[in-house]
């Protein structure tokens, strides 16, 4: 009994530590950018390649369209404050990085204020698929929050830990391993 009791106490400490870390920090999401000029930090013109949920060492990619990738990238990198649809649309428009990905003349996606609500629903759906794959019993609305303000605005906030990965543009001679991955 003493040995099994010790084992039990260790296991309880472990799962409670895991749980409290999850509750305190939120889930971890990885955002991958590619085509970064070598030596640069993070520049407009890079492609937002993927957004993934990281759970227990596994990566679960969110199945997102180009417009949703831009919105997810913006929300994840500005997750400190809840924002209204107007603030999100304005923030994306004014951000050089995101605006570079949204030039209508080049048939790139646009994110108008009026479509944010629908896009958030789609992000919830993508999160729901990823949670199911990761066997997480979490409601997407507990991660990507939709909160009523004291007036009639709705605020959105993606509570998460964000890991930003950059894949540099390789040399002109493109081979299988020409890209260099950097975590920043």
């Amino acid at each position: 009994m003493r040995d099994s009791g010790k084992l039990l106490l260790e296991e309880i400490d472990f799962v409670l530590a895991e749980r409290s870390q999850l509750l305190a920090r939120g889930l971890t999401f990885r955002v991958v950018h590619r085509y970064r000029p070598p030596g640069a930090d993070c520049l407009p013109g890079e492609e937002i390649w993927a957004v993934s949920l990281m759970q227990r060492g596994h990566e679960y990619q969110l199945l997102l369209s180009p417009a949703l990738l831009i919105l997810a990238d913006y929300l994840l990198r500005n997750s400190r404050y809840a924002q209204t649809a107007s603030q999100i649309a304005g923030g994306i428009r004014r951000s050089r990085f995101h605006a570079a990905r949204m030039n209508p003349s080049e048939r790139k996606p646009r994110i108008p204020r009026s479509s944010i609500k629908e896009y958030i629903k789609r992000l919830h759906r993508a999160l729901s698929f990823a949670f199911r794959k990761a066997r997480l019993r979490i409601k997407p609305s507990d991660v990507l929050l939709v909160q009523d303000s004291v007036s009639n605005h709705v605020l959105y906030q993606w509570k998460a830990v964000v890991e930003l990965i950059h894949v540099d543009s390789g040399p002109a001679k493109v081979g299988l391993f020409s890209d260099h991955v950097h975590q920043s």
Binding site: L8, L9, I12, L16, R135, K139, D142
Partner: protein, 106 residues
């Protein structure tokens, strides 16, 4: 204080474990049948649920019950399943996939 729900059909074993856990500063509530488990889960929230499993896979029967209470992330208790005797990796894989920690005892 950490609140734990201990499900163990062996009442004497449950009491001995509960004493040990209380000694380390945890609040422990024991139950020995499915109906009692559901009632306890309805009454209050727990940080962790410990399931003692005496037969292969019997812990799966209780999982739906546990997760039907409190769907929110904050209300989800962590679930640890203690199984008597090694039952191979398959059961452990299934437990991991369901988000349960399965530990073989002895």
């Amino acid at each position: 204080m950490t609140r734990i729900l201990l499900f163990d059909p062996d009442v004497a074993h449950a009491e001995a474990l509960a004493m040990l856990l209380r000694g380390s500063g945890r609040e422990v509530i024991c139950c020995s049948d499915q109906r009692m488990l559901a009632r306890r889960l309805r009454e209050r929230t727990f940080d962790a649920v410990i399931l003692y499993s005496y037969r292969s896979g019997d812990w799966k029967l209780h999982l739906a019950e546990i997760w039907s209470f409190g769907k929110a992330l904050l209300a989800q208790p962590a679930v640890i399943c203690f199984a008597r005797g090694y039952r191979g990796p398959q059961e452990r894989v299934e437990a991991e996939q369901r988000g349960v920690r399965l530990v073989y005892e002895g």
